[in-house]
C-alpha cells in the first residue's frame, strides 16, 4: 500500500490532534507546553508531504523549508516556555 497525500494528511491530522489533546488534558502547565512541539510535528509532516507529492515542475523545497523552521520554532518555544515556567515556580 503506497503512501499517498491523503495518508500523509491522516498522519499529520492524528499527530496534531494528539498534541492538542496533550495540551488540553495535562494539569501541569509545563507538560501542556511540551505538547506544542507535537502539534508542530504534525504540521511539518503535512508541509513535507505536500512538497513530496507536488510533482509538477522541478524541486519543491518550500514545504521542507517550512518543516525545518517549524522544528526550530518548536524547540525555541519549548525552551522559552519551560524557562518561564521555571522562573515562575521558583518564586
Amino acid at each position: 500500500m503506497t503512501p499517498t497525500l491523503v495518508a500523509v494528511f491522516f498522519v499529520a491530522g492524528g499527530v496534531v490532534a494528539a498534541g492538542a489533546f496533550g495540551a488540553a488534558w495535562r494539569r501541569d502547565a509545563s507538560a501542556a507546553v511540551a505538547s506544542i512541539p507535537v502539534m508542530f510535528a504534525g504540521v511539518g509532516v503535512a508541509f513535507a508531504g505536500v512538497a513530496r507529492f507536488a510533482a509538477a515542475g522541478g524541486q519543491h523545497l518550500l514545504g521542507q523549508e517550512l518543516a525545518v523552521l517549524l522544528a526550530i520554532a518548536a524547540l525555541a518555544l519549548l525552551g522559552l516556555g519551560l524557562g518561564i515556567a521555571g522562573r515562575e515556580s521558583a518564586r
Partner: protein
Amino acid sequence: MDSLHAIGFYVSSGVLLLGGLGVALMPGRDLRGLAMAAAGAGLAGVYVSLSAAFAAIVALVCYLGCAVLVAGPGYRSVESVVSPMWRQVGAAGAAALLAVLAYVAFRGDFVTARYSAGPLDLGAVANLLLAHDTLATEAIAALALAAAAGAAAAWRMRDRAR
C-alpha cells in the same frame, strides 16, 4: 515510492503517533522525555521516507533537544487551576479536531489555482526567503533560537542570583 519507503513511512508514522500520545499521557517527566525522543525519531523517519533528509536531520536534533528540556533537571512543574470539566471539554475538542482533520485529509488533493499576492507580491517574497535564500532564512531562525535560549538562561540566572 517503493515498498521499503512505504514500510518506513508507516512504521515511522506509528512511532510518531505513539510518541505524541506518550508526551500527552505518560506520568513522569523522564518517560515524557523518552516519548518526545521517540516522536522525534518517528518524525525524522517520516521526513526521510518523504525525501526530506535535511529536514529529518534538523527535526531529529531539535526534538532530541526538546526531550532533554522535558526530562532535564531544569524542568519545573507548574500546576494550573483549571477544573476537570474544562479539561474534559478540551479533550472532547481535540477529538472533534481529529474528526475535522480526518475529513479534510480524506478530501485532500491538489488543485490548479492562480494566487494573486497583491501589490507587495508576497509570493515573490516567500519564494525568495523559502526557496532561493533558504540557508539565510535557516540561519536567521537558528539565531532567533539562540537568542530565545540565551534570554531564558539569562533570565533564570538573574532570578537565581537574587
